[in-house]
């Protein structure tokens, strides 16, 4: 293929033009604010693995903000500005953080996994802004992961250790005294919950019959070793099978189907990750004797009337957003933020807000009372809702609270 000199120059120009276009794109001015509302900049995942957690939290938070704005926060209104991180792509995440900050965000909200959130968190902390993840479920959203700057980082998700401990308590209370563990190692949170379950379960006197691990194909392409995990468990019967993985990922359903089709009808216990009915099979064998603990009962049977009302409103607008109880983390974060602003006398300075939040002790939010401490910036002591899925139907089975958290990160 012959290219004339002129054509090649032209190509170079075209390439340059593409860049100019991108540059022109950049020549935008950020919006100015006259009335000085409180601006929350929310970088959320609109299409990646965190989307099922981020978007419901955001949708519910927007409803909560509308409610808060009726009275205002000391006369000011809250505005949420959003930015799509597109599967938590690092470059886009970083850009989102910078963009939101340039749009005058006073507080930055981020996605539900601490690693995927890292680009946003680091940018936000660099600008000394209070940085909140509604639902990161580990103890790492805080100084533990981000050092001194991490003082400004908080999560309204559960500490995995607390959740695992509550699950152990539930199993013990049900009289399931031996357990098989299958750890999905693709996310820190999954691992941490199982580890905590094991520690607390043994403390209570339970016995672990068999332990195995697998990698979920949603994050580890092509991995199918959950089949092997299932057949390992088939050969080592116990009273309960504990696995923590997301219903929206690739292993949950086939793992359960493997066990059930092999004739293993033991209860299977999962955490909030396995909440919801959206992943249940539309055909084929139905899911039965499957248990999980979660933030809120998304199916209208929550002890809190406010939660049930919110779930109903969300479901009416978009059923997806009420698929799991995770949506309450959004309003909970808003409630917590409002309290912090009030307690900081209206200051939006990251350091002041963080200083107040560090002292949170049983602060009421939509998802119950929330406490933080100097070391621990995630929620513990939640009253978990217990749900059993039987024949593809979710049934409320009361609540459970962790009494003791072994290896507590707060200790």
């Amino acid at each position: 293929m012959r290219v004339s000199k002129r054509a090649r120059w032209a190509l170079v120009i075209v390439a340059a033009a593409a860049l100019v276009l991108a540059a022109a794109a950049a020549a935008r001015t950020s919006s100015s604010s006259a009335k000085k509302p409180i601006v929350i900049g929310w970088a959320f995942d609109n299409k990646g693995p965190m989307q099922p957690f981020d978007t419901p939290a955001l949708a519910a938070a927007q409803l909560e903000v509308a409610k808060v704005n009726k009275k205002g926060v000391d006369g000011r209104k809250i505005v949420i500005k959003t930015c799509k991180t597109q599967g938590d792509d690092p470059t886009t995440s970083k850009t989102c953080a910078d963009k939101l900050i340039s749009q005058g965000a006073n507080v930055i909200f981020t996605t539900c996994d601490v690693d995927l959130a890292s680009p946003v968190v680091q940018e936000s902390l660099k600008h000394h802004l209070l940085t909140i993840a509604p639902c990161i479920g580990t103890d790492q959203m805080g100084p533990k992961r981000f050092g001194k700057a991490g003082k400004l980082a908080y999560s309204f998700g559960n500490v995995a250790q607390d959740e695992g401990s509550a699950m152990a308590q539930l199993a013990w209370n049900k009289g399931w005294k031996t357990a098989d563990l299958a750890t999905d190692t693709v996310i820190v949170y999954f691992k941490a919950v199982v580890t905590a379950f094991k520690a607390r379960f043994k403390q209570l006197g339970g016995k672990i019959n068999y332990e195995t691990s697998y990698q979920d194909p949603a994050l580890q392409q092509g991995s199918t070793n959950f089949h092997n995990a299932a057949s390992g468990i088939e050969q080592h019967p116990a009273k309960v099978i504990v696995t923590v993985t997301s219903g929206s990922y690739g292993a949950q359903l086939p793992f359960i189907t493997d066990l059930r089709t092999a004739g293993v009808n033991t209860p299977i216990l999962n955490s909030w990750a396995g909440d919801g009915t959206y992943w249940l099979p539309t055909s084929g064998p139905k899911v039965t004797n499957y248990w999980y603990v979660t933030y809120a009962n998304a199916f209208g049977h929550d002890p809190s009337a406010a939660v049930n009302k919110l779930a109903k409103t969300l479901r009416a607008a978009n059923p997806f957003n009420a698929a799991t109880g995770g949506f309450v983390t959004g309003p909970a974060a808003i409630d917590g933020l409002v309290t912090a602003i009030k307690r900081a006398n209206g200051s939006l300075l990251g350091s002041k807000l963080a200083a107040v939040m560090e002292k949170f002790h049983k602060v009421p939010t939509l998802s119950g009372n929330v406490s933080f401490s100097k070391k621990l910036h995630s929620v513990f002591g939640r009253e978990y809702r217990v749900v059993e899925i039987n024949n593809n139907k979710p049934i409320a089975k009361g609540t459970i609270t962790a009494k003791v958290v072994p290896n507590s990160p707060d200790a």
Binding site: G222, N228, G250, T261, P285
Partner: protein
Amino acid sequence: MTLAFLNLTWPTFANGLALGGVYALMAVGIGLVFGVLRLVNFAYGQLIMAGAFALAFGSQWGFPNWASILFCFGVVLGLSVLMDLLVFRPLRTHSPAVMLVATFAVAFLLQNIALLAFGPLGKSAGALAILNAPWDIGGVFIKKIAVISFATAVGCLVILQLLLTRTPLGLHMRAAAMDFRTARLLGVRANWVISGAVIVSGLFAAVSAVMLSVQELTVVPTFGTQDTILVLAGVVLGGLNRPIPATLGGFSIGFANGILGGVLPSNQSQYLPSFLFAAVIVVLLVRPNGLFARGGGTVERV
């Protein structure tokens, strides 16, 4: 009765055979198209993904199983033919590297279309999940799908072998794979042969889609990608140019994948890909022209 070797059990052995069978089909699908077009189709995994999604939607819309499977075949075949018309044919005369990267582009495009249309979390293809139940064979519990996969793979391969050896089209395909130019000079119709290869390859992709989606149950946009890479490795390991070595290569890597997955202790199972690919590299170093290749055939430069 157990296979008293490592912790290899009969069910694991059966799973290995089943995966080996499906990979062998994929290997043949990739090998046939390579034979006539000298094109390594990286987008083969996306064909399987599309088929698996078709199956999932079929069961969601309440199709009976046979209709879902038919729908799956239709989607995969349509997509294969479209891929061939829009991309492979215009690029037929270009270098293997350009064709290979073009299939990257197609794979990238299809995967992202799936991501946009169906989301990252995919769909459950539960219609045939019941096939994961075991059969009791003399006290050993073997999954039905393992037996069915292996039997289907063997059946498909036998039919293909008959097609290749007993029909004029098969003869023409074999000749075109050896020397396309001469075959055309003899009157072998290039377009027919290419279409034949693309259609058979598509059919095998559809069969693989059904078998794999029963085993994995959840269909995500990356479905089949890793399998395709493994199969490609297997095909090259066997010898890309000929159907039988390619089949054996694909089978070997699938079998090894299934068995290793079963016998690796759980704290090492995450390193399964490392073990497999390390083995692939070692074999390639020892036998660069493939495990089952006779003599030193010329290897395509890409």
